[in-house]
């Protein structure tokens, strides 16, 4: 009826100690690879501890001993049953040139949705500003954009002749932009957990601001200034926000699971690495955008000709498009297209 605890302890204690030692080693060195012999021994020790736990639970009521064995088995279980594909060590160049663009292309539908929502927001913002003169004041969060565009352009061009407005503050301004935009992007991605509703709201609002600003400057005849000001950094920053939205929709898609027969846990598990890849790519893009915005975008004619800035932005946008569309294309992708 009741297990002979004394004998049981005497027999099994060395095996538990050995298992505990192996676990400690594995836990201290996450990348440790066991040899075949070591793996076999580890598996044997795990099975033995599991069997001991089963015996103890069946034949004897000893909570402390059970807790001890449960802890051993639980730790070993995590090591033994981890079957998810173990990738090669992370290599930055491979990640940038292959993994990131491939991941982007895998979720084109989500990116399109991100783009459509932003465009819808822009259309709404533009229309609102066109139909209601007070809409600009209500929708625009940035104080410096509330005034008359032509007055701003004239003022900035005049001031820049006299002194550098960002003198002694360019680097810090650049890092402020990087951190702020990265936070907004992470938030946009995280809002995917609201079944995508929060992500849609963020993207739509971004679109609204773009629409209002765009229409305001075009109506004032300052389209060239607007392009020269926005394109150098916006050609990377705006796609980055769209990609953050894409990551949010990937998360939302896994959460909702339309047309998928797998369980929620499995769906979220499948997209986890891709979401991290997308948001890491976004962070990288925003570092570049932050540098360009602080060091280039804020300088206008006569310091920097608008056409040069527009050309720079266009080259960036084309390069980004080609990179995301073509880099690291696989045979499978080529066959599909």
């Amino acid at each position: 009826m009741i297990i002979d605890l004394e004998k049981f302890l005497a027999d099994e204690r060395p095996a538990w100690a050995e298992l505990e030692l192996s676990l400690k080693k594995l836990e201290e060195e996450p990348n440790l690879q066991l040899s075949l012999e070591q793996a076999r021994r580890f598996h044997y020790l795990y099975q033995r501890a599991s069997a001991d736990l089963a015996r103890l639970m069946t034949f004897a009521h000893e909570p402390a001993m059970r807790l001890y064995l449960e802890s051993l088995v639980a730790r070993a279980y995590g090591e033994i049953h981890e079957t998810r594909y173990k990738k090669e060590p992370w290599r930055p160049w491979v990640w940038i040139s292959r993994t990131f663009p491939q991941t982007f292309r895998r979720y084109q539908r989500e990116f399109l949705l991100s783009l459509v929502v932003t465009l819808a927001g822009s259309a709404f913002g533009g229309l609102a500003a066109l139909l209601d003169a007070t809409a600009k004041e209500a929708l625009m969060p940035f104080q410096h954009l509330q005034g008359n565009p032509s007055e701003r352009v004239a003022r900035e061009e005049r001031e820049q002749k006299q002194r550098d407005p960002l003198q002694g503050a360019k680097t810090s301004f650049s890092s402020e932009l990087m951190t702020h935009n990265t936070k907004v992007s992470i938030f946009t991605m995280a809002l995917g957990m609201t079944w995508g509703v929060g992500t849609i709201m963020m993207l739509f609002y971004n679109g609204v601001i773009l629409g209002v600003v765009g229409l305001d400057y075009v109506q004032a005849g300052e389209a060239k200034f607007l392009l020269g000001w926005l394109l150098p950094h916006g050609s990377v920053e705006i796609p980055a926000i769209l990609l953050a939205g894409q990551a949010g929709f990937v998360l939302a898609g896994a959460l909702i699971g339309w047309g998928q027969r797998t369980a929620l846990q499995a769906r979220l598990r499948r997209v986890a690495a891709d979401v991290v890849t997308l948001i890491s790519g976004v962070a990288l893009m925003l570092v570049w955008a932050g540098i360009v915005e602080a060091f280039l975008s804020q300088y206008h004619e006569p310091i920097l000709p608008y056409l040069l800035k527009i050309a720079f932005g266009t080259v960036e946008l084309t390069a980004l498009f080609l990179f995301l569309a073509m880099a690291g294309r696989t045979e499978k992708e080529n066959l599909r297209t």
Binding site: S50, G168, A190
Partner: protein, 251 residues
């Protein structure tokens, strides 16, 4: 319905439980981590102060970036290096684990930490706390997205079962047929109760200890009465020790 534990059944049919950490403990761990972050930021501020002499613009930029990296990276790096633990979690004996008891993947750690932005809304992790309170596995949004749980790690040491060690005279064993009857009649739960009383006897107040072993001895004496000469001159506690010896040691 939340149970406070998560039971995992292995493919070998073994069941083990993980103790889920509640929102209050987790909040305390987060508060400790916040204190650590503030201390690290303050130290960093002092360390970067000389940079002001070179360029105040560059110094400010480095500070902004460093704070941001510490804020985002602390949880990710700590949980990766310490297998699911930050300083706060280590101190409160908590650990982030995969929801199926498997090893944590880097992507899980990154996702659960990035989603703090959402969980911390509107203030003091209110949203995350509410989710933690009402979800079956006490998960905040970040845990749900990353398929992770936070578990409590009890202090687990090999139990001290020296009370069972041989070498002491057991008067009950002089009456082998009664000892066999005792083994036959005592339920595993009753045997466990006697064993636990012995294992934890040093934790009891003297009065409570006497009372407990008195009650237990009376109970076991009632199950199988031993002759007077077998129990003469031994305390109630010694009697229970002998009973446990009979029950748990096969001869």
């Amino acid at each position: 319905m939340r149970t406070g534990t998560l039971q995992i059944r292995t493919p070998d049919g073994i069941v083990f439980s993980l103790l889920l950490a509640g929102p209050v403990t987790r909040f305390l761990a987060a508060a400790i981590d916040l204190a650590c972050l503030m201390a690290a930021s303050s130290l960093l501020g002092s360390a970067l102060a000389p940079l002001q002499l070179v360029s105040s613009d560059v110094a400010r930029a480095v500070m902004i970036l460093a704070f941001f990296i510490i804020q985002i990276g602390y949880g990710i790096v700590a949980e990766w290096l310490w297998r699911g633990q930050t300083i706060g979690k280590r101190l409160l004996r908590l650990r982030v684990m995969d929801v199926q008891g498997l090893r944590l993947h880097p992507s899980q750690i990154v996702i659960r930490n990035l989603l703090r932005f959402l969980d911390s809304l509107p203030v003091f992790y209110l949203l995350g706390g509410l989710f933690c309170l009402f979800t079956r596995k006490a998960q905040r949004l970040g845990d749900l997205a990353a398929n992770t749980i936070v578990v409590r790690i009890p202090r687990v040491e090999e139990p001290d079962l020296d009370q069972l060690l041989p070498g002491k005279f057991n008067s009950l064993l002089e009456h082998r047929h009664l000892a066999s009857r005792l083994r036959q009649r005592v339920l595993p739960q009753e045997a466990s109760l006697a064993l636990q009383a012995l294992v934890r006897r040093e934790d009891l107040d003297p009065a409570a200890r006497v009372e407990l072993f008195g009650g237990l001895a009376a109970y076991f004496k009632n199950i199988v009465p031993f002759p007077q000469e077998a129990i003469d001159g031994i305390t109630d506690e010694q009697y229970i020790r002998n009973v446990v010896d009979v029950l748990y040691r096969k001869r």
